[in-house]
Amino acid sequence: MEYVIEVENLKKSFGNKEVLRGISLKIKAGESYVVIGGSGSGKSVLIKCILGLIEPDGGIIKINGKDTSKMSQKELFKARLKCGVLYQGGALFDSLNVIDNVSFGLIYGYGMSQKEAYKIAIEKLESVDLDESVAKIYPAELSGGMSKRVALARAIATDPSIIFFDEPTTGLDPITSGTINDLIVRCTKEMGISAVSITHDINSLKHISDRVGLLFNGSFIWEGTNKELMSTDNPYVVQFINGNAKGPFTEK
């Protein structure tokens, strides 16, 4: 079996606060894996460690079979181009308009000419149901749903083999969330891209996941497929899915 991402015994603390206490995770090619867990449980830290944005304290991370700690700076940057990221707040560059945002990785990463990059950028905008008319708009003027779309277009612009979605629907209304979910499914399933997503949104979770891991207290306390998620009687999962105030999550 080929894994696009392998994480073994990943550890990370900030000061004396242990955020990740030995996480292991394997993601197959084409698979959509979703990490769930309470706010501040370390979900974002986990994907930032995988992307090399945060240096882990211990453990092994492999992307497409290659140990990232053994990569040179150059290889690492190259590997990152094959990882698209949709950040929690979109993280569009404020100082650049939509088309420059979407074509950024193509120009700076792949060294394409502006003309070439713009052409691809417009294709990518179309694949998230936007068009040329938004090209010259700056991120500050976009609505929440639109800026998520633009961010998604930027994430897929470099033709990544893995995409990371950090709370893609948080802060959006249910209908806009639904369209973003559809887009995520389209980008991953139809293009065969593997995905690692973080979400609190149960609807989104049912929609986009193949496999799910529940993060609690620095490690996965439950892992299973989308189907198992709905039928499990694991008290943690049950509490999380149903949003109960009482349960093992909130016990001390």
């Binding site: 940057f77 990882c83 993280a91 569009l92 404020d94 950024f104 990785g105 700076y108």
Partner: protein
Amino acid sequence: MILDRIGRLFISFLASIGNLTLFSIKSLAAGFMPPYYWKQILGQAVQIGYFSLPVVGMTALFTGMAMTLQCYAGFSEFTAENAIPSVVMIAMTRELGPVLAALMVAGRLGASMTAEIGTMKVTEQIDALTTLSVNSYKYLVFPRILTGTLLLPFLVFIDDVIGILGGYLVGVYYLNFNAANYIRNTFESMATWDIVSGLIKGAVFGFVICLMGCYQGYSSKGGAEGVGRATTNSVVASSIMILLLDGILTFVLF
């Protein structure tokens, strides 16, 4: 107790100097390696050079004027009015030009650098740069440090000229100096080294302001409030550094 506090303060001071040094090495090493982001560098040059001119020019003009008046009040007691043009000249080129320009730039530009980069940091735009395979030190920090270092001397020079002009205006039109004499006295006391040393100071201050501005931006944590705090830190820290380095440089250069 007190010793303990002082010791801890001293250690944290050393640690921040260390971090700052590391930060500048990282940025310079990244920046001097091709490819070069000319668009970024040019954009910063416009920011620093052009948009700082009005503020810097205004302060220089009024400082030059005020200094001439003050000198007159003092010097006329000893009938030493003739020394005024040269005192203004020396004070402007050696001290006030560089320090004033630097303080204004720290307040205007250093602050906005920290706010901009800090916002990028807390909204994950810097992470996004990295995952789109751009070294953020090269893209954000180096252009600012480079243009700051190269352009502050230019601002200092403008500052010198306008300050001296301010002195001339007050001297000739308010204190009724003879214009020709005033000009002759001014130029007679002009020394290349005074001017050059001021420009050197300017370059050092420019480097420090932009370095501090970027560094504090990168250190921002936790949303808008964190960015605000970092911005204040940036201005305070660069202002202190400017005055401290001014003392040291004056000592070294003369």
